[in-house]
């Protein structure tokens, strides 16, 4: 059996050193990388293809859940946190394995074993649901993270023009470029501010600031014209939602 390839992700050098020390005593484990931030972790996942991330929740720039959102489909994860009530609640709800700092070598070894079993069964974490559950309830997403191989694009929501559903993906239009992300439009919708983004059609969400006007075409279908001139279809339900917002 090939050794389990593990990457350690924590912004604190001492915390990484501890995991490294503990892992030295675990059989059939190979440390392929240590990352001090989330961007490095995303790059490592696409370049080195580890089987498992030991992932700290509190990190600068990209926190553990954002890393999970970006790479959670390609790699198993064992979360580590000192104290974070939202994270702990999310872990409990979704029965996710996690380590609380300070933790013992045995506890880490047990978590590695369980991760190995889950990998053997091909189990994956409910990435989007877990990430959503870990957010403080009141907050709307302020930025969208899109992974492009080893790179991460950070899209501030106010710069997003529109979002289109395409099979299992959604496509963001932002400053003239398009970004693909594996997520459903319904999942995205719940994380956006409903006063700024509106679903005008089964396949389209638009930024209300980008809407120029709504017209009727020759077959009496409503069409939303955006400020950049693009024309998007508006469904009957979408028009109801749109008028509800515009009347306010």
């Amino acid at each position: 059996m090939p050794p389990l390839k593990v990457a350690i992700v924590d912004d604190e050098e001492l915390a990484r050193a501890l995991v490294r020390e503990y892992l030295a005593a675990v059989a059939d484990v190979e440390i392929v990388a240590e990352c001090s931030n989330g961007f490095e972790a995303v790059k490592v996942v696409s370049d080195l293809r580890p089987d498992l991330l030991i992932l700290d929740v509190q990190m600068p720039k990209l926190d553990g859940f954002e890393v999970l959102e970006l790479v959670g489909r390609d790699v198993a994860v064992v979360f580590v946190t000192a104290h974070d009530q939202y994270a702990l609640r999310a872990f409990e709800v979704h029965a996710v394995d996690y380590l609380l700092k300070p933790f013992s070598a045995d506890r880490l070894a047990a978590a590695i074993e369980r991760a190995r079993e889950r990998l053997g069964r091909g189990e994956r974490l409910p990435v989007q649901d877990l990430a959503a559950a870990a957010r403080p309830a009141q907050g709307h997403t302020r930025r969208i993270l899109v992974r492009d191989g080893p790179r991460v694009h950070v899209l501030p929501v106010e710069k997003i023009d529109s979002v289109q559903a395409q099979d299992d993906y959604i496509c963001f239009r932002c400053e003239g470029k398009e970004y693909l992300k594996e997520q459903t439009l319904a999942q995205l919708e719940t994380s956006l501010d409903p006063a700024k983004f509106v679903r005008i059609h089964r396949s389209f969400v638009i930024n209300l600031d980008r809407l120029a006007r709504v017209e009727l075409d020759d077959r009496d279908n409503r069409i939303a014209i955006l400020t950049d001139g693009r024309r998007l279809p508006v469904s009957r339900a979408g028009y109801t939602r749109l008028s509800g917002l515009l009347d306010k």
């Binding site: 912004d11 604190e12 600068p60 720039k61 000192a82 104290h83 939202y86 700092k101 957010r135």
Partner: protein
């Protein structure tokens, strides 16, 4: 306690008011055919006795409080009490006139005295009602004062509770991470681990010590902040850098305990920890005569993810500052895209 009898200065003012009433009434009686001497000889002793008798209006005012009694009941009981008091007083007046008539000086006035008796009854009723009104006013005054005092006591208690809650609030995140650092150091750097244990022990002990006091010298508060930063420096390594400029003259100024601690914690948690490259925390403490200025500045990540709630609020620090120094103290924050600054201004008292 009786609102007038209980306080000497009130009793004096009360009797002085009666003396004025006595002089005024005597003036009226001189118009009705009595000489000043005859009028005062009649009125002075009678009014002195009646002044004390009217203190019994307190029982009436207590038995029928304005707030809960009907208008009819107040009028009826006041009228009845005034009539009884005045009736008794009238009896006393007659007796006194009889006594006066036996003396040579006042015997000639006996008839004229007798004519004044019906007005005496009316005057007695009026005076009793006046005394009753005074009692009602005093009771209302005391009630308001008591309510104010209770309100103040409540505020103090609330503040006390807040402070206690604050004391208990040593950031668990900080504690667990520190323990994790110690756990990591035990294998690689055992003396470092020991140093960290000592720092953490001292920090916890100092936190408990200072929080038991009402006010502490700024030097103690700064020492606590230094311990905290030393511990965090083990965790963050070169990411956490500190520049301090502390005016030695400020060290004796008294401040509420744990005034700076939450601010320093915020600077690390919301500043340094949110940046890949860390940064410099600047602490500037200066004293100009009686004025103490504390400025704490930290870098921050402009596009940090949604800030996680929790941590100690600036509002709490501000409230405690105001509670101790009133309007002379202030807390201001300045947030720029990449920096955050807190400025505290307060009077420096050294308790000498």
């Amino acid at each position: 306690m009786h609102p007038i009898l209980g306080r000497v200065e009130r009793l004096a003012a009360y009797l002085a008011a009666w003396l004025i009433v006595c002089v005024l009434l005597a003036a009226v009686f001189t118009r009705l055919g009595l000489s000043w001497l005859e009028a005062l000889a009649l009125l002075l002793p009678l009014l002195l006795v009646y002044a004390f008798a009217c203190l019994s209006a307190w029982y009436v005012s207590r038995a029928t409080p304005l707030r809960t009694s009907s208008l009819f009941r107040v009028l009826a009981s006041s009228g009845l009490a005034a009539s009884i008091a005045s009736g008794l007083w009238l009896g006393l007046a007659r007796a006194w006139v009889a006594v006066l008539s036996t003396t040579d000086t006042f015997a000639p006035a006996a008839d004229r005295y007798g004519q004044q008796m019906p007005p005496v009854f009316a005057i007695g009723v009026l005076l009793f009602l006046l005394a009753l009104a005074v009692h009602y006013v005093l009771i209302a005054f005391e009630t308001t004062r008591q309510a104010e005092r209770r309100q103040l006591e409540l505020e103090i208690l609330t503040r006390d509770a807040e402070l206690r809650a604050l004391r208990a609030q040593i950031d668990p995140h900080f504690l667990y991470n520190s323990l994790n650092s110690i756990s990591a150091l035990t294998a690689s750097d055992s003396s470092g681990a020991r140093r960290m244990c000592l720092l953490l022990g001292e920090f916890l002990r100092n936190t408990l010590d200072v929080s038991a006091r009402q006010r502490i010298p700024l030097a103690d508060e700064l020492a606590l902040a230094e311990r905290f930063l030393s511990i965090e420096q083990v965790r963050f390594g070169s990411r956490l850098r500190i520049e301090r400029r502390v005016d030695a003259a400020s060290s004796a100024c008294l401040v509420p305990p744990l005034l700076l601690q939450p601010l320093v914690e915020n600077a690390v948690t919301h500043g340094i920890a949110q940046r890949l490259e860390g940064g410099v925390i600047r602490l500037d403490v200066s004293r100009t005569n009686g004025h103490l200025a504390i400025v704490l500045e930290n870098p921050r990540d402009g596009d940090a993810a949604v800030p996680r709630p929790g941590g100690l609020g600036l509002e709490n620090v501000r409230r405690r500052l105001i509670a101790m120094f009133g309007r002379e103290a202030s807390l201001e924050t300045h947030a720029a895209a990449d920096r955050f600054r807190v400025e505290l201004h307060l009077p420096c008292s050294t308790g000498e």
